[in-house]
Structure formats: structure tokens, C-alpha cells
Symmetry: C2
């Protein structure tokens, strides 16, 4: 189906047959949605089950299509690592890209002796190989334990850097994009090297631009009088208690605040609401990735605490959605 | 709160107190969302209950925020007439605009003797007054019975014109916009006069442009080989059986078809899917109102039957979502 992604289709078909499922839901992240129709066709031809592909946006395992789920016998959620959700089967799609060339490059610019290794689920099966490469170069390698929201040692989410809570001199992040490794930089204050096996590019994170931008957003929000506090209803992002707490804090400070509950958080949807600033208790990436799209400041809960005067400017961190105790993955 | 809309706030507060509700959901259509924060504040101050305003788009009573509903003690859905949904209280917002001036104008251009009166819930409490005006001018006036999806005699939705199934010579539609009266024109082949009490404007519907446009869309879809058949998961729009039936029909004709399940249907969300044409079994207005925004033809189920050769070009109708037997409203 694709040279780069493995959809575990034999396993999926076997699971459908074992369950005798007649109606099957298929959910894909944006980059994999285009494979949906062909997978639906193959499932139909080989099992007779009818497939419904979710057309809603999907950005993570936190984003289960719970409405579709109620209308099918089984829902397969592709591309993200398992979380515990009843009747949802998470099918991880692993990249078969070779990480060795980019790791060999990354090793050359290391400064420390103890190196933390982190990645997303797409490359997590290559961490042992990365570990061996580092060891061959005389480095001590740590693949950190994760908390209960994650499945694999060394795995990070855009909102969970528990795997980086280790005593390393610096980190190598295997993957594309800047958001995850930037989060690790801000969470640990340590040097993070991005080793991108897709582009074969090695670079260091630079948290300065994003910190300056967040400071500017907070500064703009200091004059705000009315705050819209957003609860995201996506199944793994719903922090109602946190939102309620922030709402009460705002009111205590004499500010006007109200609570908005929604699934996708977009500038268009917020246009109907008047507020001088918004606070998003859902996905922490929204405030940061989409900063330019919002007309008024969009704060994370941590940044809102700075605005409220309850946290110092030097205590700004990435907002993380953390689970319970750290544990070592057993797989 | 507004000179034009009545939110029945005393009744809402009474209902919250009677139920002892601590968590209250508030849902508004787009045009009324801006009133949400003030209503939330008043509810909080007078009852102590905490309010959560739905930030999701809302276009009708078919569009209940079922996720928010699971997290509150009671959900108030403002601006649309009642449908039977557990634990949702529909608060109709009635316009107090005077319909007499525009009705007096409309009467002048009537040609027939028996006039059907239709409107949306916003003005439905004025139908008796409209009836009296017509009678004074010597007209026989019919306010049609509606099917089980509707609440009031003479009431229409954008997808339900059962109130127009009466033996009238022509119709007067009281309200703004063209969609509802155009639907009546196409459903009845009779003359429909729009009497807009907001702008005090009277005009006749002209179905020709929209019919030409729909013919062009169908013509473009005749060459399509791959169809995406969309199921909308909004609570009052979900027609899975219809979608399944269309999917089977397409496959019988040797076409490639697959099923997509989603809540909001937007061009951006469909960009991830490759299809030569889409068929929307959800809100019939999407295909028609948003025609220019979709890159490929977006068909209604009825139009898809024309493409499949199962219905003649002269049998094109507006897609209606109908309920059971016609009944006379008792309110």
C-alpha cells in the first residue's frame, strides 16, 4: 500500500474476522487519510464488513471519533500509539525509513557523554538501533521511562515529555518537525538535537524565537478584561476541572471570564465570541502553532497563570498533559 | 438583552432551579452565539450553576452538541424549535418584528385565491395574524399540517417542506433568505412569494438559476468514477441507511464508492479524500449553499440517483429529511 508506512492490514482483517464485525470504523491522521478508501475497499472485499472512514480532523491518539465509534462494531485508529479507550484498536503505523545515516551525523555534533534518546511512535521501534550506534561511539545512552499516557520508553507526544525526565547531558530527538523537541528543550533546559531521518538533516533546537513570541502574547494579554476559557471535548484533551479552576481564579481577580466547550478549536469558530484573550485547556499546540491565526492572544493554562500574577515570567513552560506514575513499557 | 430576540431567560433560570442543575450547557446558532457570555453570567449569578457555552457550529435543531450534553446536567439549545431529544431543552427565540407592513405589501401581488402560509419558528407565532390579514383581503388561507420532525403548523425547515403539502394556489413565506422558499417552489412547482419582515421586502422566488446550477453539477458528475458518500453524524442528520443504500447502488453500477463519516462537512476536510464527486446524505443545504466552495461536484442523494440513471432529469427535487405522519400541532 505504501513503501513508507505499514498499516498492519493482515492483523486488522484478522481482528475483524475474529470479532465477526459487520461495521468497521477507520480513523486516520491527516497525512494518512488518503489511504483510507483503498483500505476500506480491501476490508470490504476480504471480510464483507462495511467500512466508514472518519472525515473529522485527527491529530493524535487524544482524538478518537467517539460519535463514529458508537455506530460501528469496532473502530481502528491508525497512526498513533495505544491509549486505553474501550472498543478502539490503535494501529501504529511505523516508518521503515533507515535512521542510521542521520544518527551517524547527529553523533558528530554531540558535546556530552550521557545522551537521552526520544522520538515519536513512528520511529520508536528504531530506538534500540539508535542506542547501539551511540554506544559504539562511546556514549552512554538513556531511553527514558514514560508516564501512563504513553506506551513506549523514549516516546514523546506534543503535550507529554515525560520521557525526557532523565539525567542526560543532552538529547537526540529522532523525527521531523520542531514542536516535540522544542517542548523537550523548554521542559529540560538542555540541548536537544533533532535528527530527521526523512530529510537526513541534523539541527539543534532554538527555543528563543518561540519564547519571545510567548512573552509577547502574555504581554498583550495583561490588559485583557474578558477571557474565554476553552475546553476541548476531544476524548484525550478534555480538562474540565482545570478550566473550572482557571475560571474561578479569573473571577476572583475581578476579571470577566466564561467557559466555551468545543471540539475543533479554530479562529473561525472563535469569531462568534467576544473576548480580549482566550485560554486553551485542550491541545497545547493550538496556542503555539496557530498563534498568527488568532486575532487576540491565545494562552496556555501556564501562561494564563503568569497573566494572573500567580507564576513568574521565568517559570514559563510548555503546557503538558501528563498521566500518572512513570512506568517502563513492557512491550 | 436584545430588542429583537427573546431568550426566555426567566423560564431558563426557573428550569435550572427546579432541576437543581449545577452544570448547564448552552448552545446557540451562529447569529446568537454573541449573547452566550452574558446569558452564562446571568445564570451563574442567579442560580450558582456553572455554564458551558458550545463553541461548535450550530445550524439547526438537528445539530445538538451531544458531547457537551454528556458533561452537563441540562443542555439548553436556543433558537430552534423543539425536537424530541432526551435532556435537551429547546428554547425558541421568537422575533418580535412586526409582520403587518410586509404582509400588506405581499397581498397586493397575489394572483390566486387560496394562499398557503409558511414560515420558520422565528415568526411562527405571527401566522394567525398573517392569516387574519389575508382573510380581510378576501383570501382563503391555509396553514399546512407538518410531519413529525416539526412542531408548528406552517413551519418549514431547510430540509422539510411538509407544511407546503396543501392545496393552495400559491404561497407566502414569511422570513429572510431564499433557501426555504426555493425549496417550497421546487417541492410544489407553485409560485412562492417571500415576505421578509426584517427588510420589509417582497419578492418572488426564482428557481431557474439554482436548477441550472444543479443540472450543471449533475452533468459534471456523470463522468465520475469514484464517489465519496458522506454521512453526517449530527444528531438529526445521520442517515446511515440511506448512505449504505447509495453505496450499494454505486457498487452495483461498477463505480468505486466509499463511505465517509464526519460532523462538519467542509471543503477543507474533504481535501484529504480523493473522489471525482461527493454525495452528501447530511444537511441538503451543504451541496447547494456551498456549491462554489467544493472542488468536485457535491450531490444530494436525489441528484446521485439521476447520475446513476435511476431518476429522470425532470424529477429533480430538493432533498428533504422527512419524519413520520403529518400531524396538526397541538400547541
Amino acid at each position: 500500500m505504501s513503501a513508507t508506512f505499514d498499516f498492519d492490514l493482515e492483523w486488522v482483517i484478522d481482528a475483524i474476522e475474529k470479532r465477526g464485525a459487520k461495521k468497521v470504523g477507520l480513523q486516520f491522521p491527516e497525512g494518512l487519510k488518503r489511504f483510507g478508501p483503498a483500505i476500506a475497499k480491501e476490508i470490504q472485499e476480504r471480510t464483507g464488513a462495511i467500512s466508514y472512514i472518519s472525515g473529522n480532523p485527527c491529530y493524535g491518539a487524544c482524538d478518537v471519533d467517539v460519535i463514529l465509534q458508537t455506530h460501528v462494531d469496532v473502530l481502528f485508529h491508525f497512526g498513533h500509539a495505544h491509549r486505553s479507550v474501550d472498543d478502539v484498536i490503535f494501529i501504529e503505523t511505523r516508518s521503515d525509513v533507515d535512521i542510521r545515516p542521520v544518527m551517524e551525523q547527529a553523533v558528530k555534533i554531540l558535546k556530552g557523554d550521557v545522551i537521552g534518546l526520544i522520538t515519536t511512535v513512528q520511529h520508536v521501534h528504531k530506538l534500540e538501533e539508535a542506542h547501539d550506534i551511540l554506544s559504539r561511539h562511546g556514549k552512554t545512552c538513556i531511553i527514558g521511562r514514560v508516564d501512563s499516557r504513553l506506551k513506549y520508553k523514549g516516546q514523546v507526544l506534543g503535550c507529554n515529555f515525560s520521557a525526557a525526565q532523565v539525567n542526560a547531558d543532552e538529547f537526540i530527538y529522532i523525527g521531523s518537525g520542531n514542536f516535540h523537541p522544542l517542548g523537550v528543550t523548554l521542559a529540560t533546559s538542555k540541548r536537544v538535537i533533532i535528527a530527521d531521518p526523512m530529510s537526513n538533516e541534523v539541527r539543534e533546537t532554538n527555543p528563543e524565537p518561540i519564547l519571545r513570541q510567548r512573552h509577547a502574547i502574555i504581554a498583550r494579554a495583561l490588559d485583557a478584561e474578558t477571557f474565554g476559557i476553552i475546553i476541548c471535548t476531544k476524548s484525550g484533551q478534555m480538562r474540565v476541572d482545570l478550566a473550572d479552576k482557571l475560571w474561578k481564579k479569573a473571577r476572583k481577580k475581578g476579571l470577566v471570564a466564561y467557559l466555551i466547550s468545543m471540539d475543533e478549536i479554530t479562529p473561525e469558530r472563535l469569531n462568534s465570541f467576544k473576548a480580549d484573550a482566550f485560554v486553551n485547556t485542550g491541545c497545547p499546540r493550538i496556542a503555539i502553532d496557530d498563534v498568527a491565526m488568532f486575532k487576540v492572544p491565545m494562552l496556555t493554562p501556564i501562561e494564563f497563570e503568569v497573566v494572573l500574577g500567580e507564576r513568574g515570567w521565568d517559570e514559563i513552560e510548555f503546557d503538558e498533559i501528563l498521566g500518572g506514575c512513570l512506568f517502563i513499557s513492557t512491550r
